[in-house]
Symmetry: C2
DNA sequence: GAAATAGTCAAGTAAACACTTAAGTATTGA
DNA sequence: TCAATACTTAAGTGTTTACTTGACTATTTC
């Protein structure tokens, strides 16, 4: 699975997006991050792992506490993809292109 | 399902993202759009419907041909979400915030 | 050192998802 | 008008996903 696939897949789930939103306000331990979510800690951890694997989050364990923080670089992937699409449809003359494609 | 959920869910699938990429170069009929994908037309149509429901695409049927085109407004949703996250983590002093949150 | 805390691991489950095939409709071209 | 084209609809299928529960480990705290 490509990195970009992992990022978009990770953000495709509303729970994970909400987690990113919570963490955008600052780092939190898993247990604190889990508080607003009506699910088990184990489930939250599974989401955290997916977000981490995608590069949107980084986690670090000190003692028994694992702290999660947002990784800005992960978002650049999304940003750049959108930017590229826009570059495409802005840089051409719709009418002409449409005709040429037939 | 919220509009933003629909957009991110739609982009969470690699096939659908690829379709958006193809259509970024200009509008195409469903059959033409389907060409590069190793799956049935029916499957492609299902993806098109999901993309359309999310607001990333618009389609128009003239005669027996349904033409698909990218809808720039759909991407603004993604863009703005990323922008908001960034606004959060840029507008604060990480150290201080981290301490205050305990 | 015993009990509470914070996370980890593994196995299971129900629902959602990405397809398929097959039959059907509307439009176009010869 | 007949056949080909371009979808459309519906029903079915295997896989992935988002969870659960329960048992376990490591770290603090009292």
């Amino acid at each position: 699975m490509l990195p970009i696939d992992r990022v978009f897949h990770a953000l495709g789930d509303p729970t994970r997006r909400a987690m990113v939103e919570y963490l955008s306000a600052g780092p939190l331990p898993v247990t604190r991050l889990a508080e607003p979510f009506p699910m088990s800690l184990a489930a939250v951890m599974q989401h955290v792992r997916i977000l981490e694997a995608s590069g949107l989050l980084k986690t670090e364990k000190t003692g028994r506490v694992r702290t999660c923080r947002v990784e800005p670089a992960g978002f650049a992937v999304v940003d750049e993809w959108v930017r590229r699409r826009r570059a495409n449809w802005n840089t051409r003359f719709d009418r002409l292109e449409g005709l040429l494609r037939e």
